[in-house]
């Protein structure tokens, strides 16, 4: 699995980077302080990822990840890679937490429809015939809570790459390392995840009456 056990670095280590790296940290107190600083900076991002993966268990997942990251801090060769390294540990902790708490397996039962186009479905159904900005009007119906619910319904294998790339700003290469999967697999899941997200936005809107009223 990704995260703990994998040495994270950016692949282009300059002497300056090495000097800033962990080699220069001598005492346990310094090491702990450096970890604390790095981790504190990442808390909002880590919490956001955990919320989208395990919802109300986010705080537990982040604590678990911080503990594991602290114990394997020596494996982080380059502090520039700290966000992706911490995220990889957190993603695994969220998966473990989900398994321990016997959440229903969400990798199955939802098939992606790669031919679905939300753009065309909206144009075809035309829920607000007098709107000049039909597609934007549709998106503006969704609150942050609605988006969270849609994402929560997505199978994890599609949700995680989608969230990490489009909401947390990681590159696809970083996501491949975070989820410990080949880049081609991540790209394929991202592609299916986007189409599934479009389909699930539409289904959610129909189910929750977001298509009613004026555009």
């Amino acid at each position: 699995m990704g995260g703990v056990g994998i040495v994270f670095h950016n692949g282009s280590r300059t002497p300056e980077r090495r000097a800033r790296g962990l080699e220069s940290i001598g005492s346990v107190t310094d090491r702990k302080e450096r970890f604390r600083q790095l981790a504190t900076q990442q808390l909002p991002g880590l919490y956001a990822i955990a919320r989208r993966m395990v919802d109300d268990d986010a705080e537990d997942a982040v604590q678990d990840a911080l503990m594991k990251a602290y114990r394997s801090f020596d494996q982080l060769e380059d502090e520039d890679a700290a966000p992706a390294w911490l995220a990889s540990i957190l993603v695994n902790c969220c998966r473990d937490l989900g398994r321990r708490r016997a959440r229903p397996p969400d990798e199955v039962s939802i098939e992606t429809d790669e031919g679905f186009s939300l753009y065309r479905r909206l144009a075809h159904e035309d829920p607000w015939p007098y709107s000049d900005s039909l597609h934007l009007d549709f998106l503006q119906r969704f609150t942050r809570g609605d988006v969270r619910e849609v994402l929560a319904e997505m199978p994890e294998i599609y949700r995680v790459p989608l969230v990490l790339v489009h909401m947390d700003g990681f590159s696809t290469k970083e996501v491949a390392r975070i989820v410990d999967a080949p880049l081609g697999t991540v790209l394929a899941r991202l592609h299916r995840g986007r189409k599934l997200f479009e389909k699930m936005l539409w289904d959610y809107a129909v189910r929750n009456g977001l298509l009613r009223g004026d555009g």
């Binding site: 504190t40 808390l43 956001a48 705080e59 753009y119 597609h135 969704f142 909401m167 479009e198």
Partner: protein, 75 residues
């Protein structure tokens, strides 16, 4: 020239810069003549902004305080 279906399947990858030069050329050739796929492209851009806009999950101050305390307590 590629079909609408083929173009639409690659639009997100196109926006992310994850298509090769040959595919990029084919998509741009199609977009040059297909108004509907240009609409699809604009909507894909809107969806990317939509996801980014909804990305923030506020870290409650009480949770932040507990996590900071937890970090300080690590030995």
């Amino acid at each position: 020239m590629i079909t609408c279906s083929e173009a639409v399947k690659r639009l997100w990858d196109y926006l992310e810069g994850e298509v090769g030069s040959k595919d990029r050329g084919a998509i741009e050739e199609h977009l040059g003549v297909c108004r509907r796929c240009c609409g699809e492209l604009e909507f894909a851009q809107e969806l990317r902004r939509f996801l980014s806009h909804h990305s923030s999950e506020d870290l409650p101050e009480s949770v932040r305080a507990r996590l900071v305390y937890f970090l300080e307590d690590l030995t």
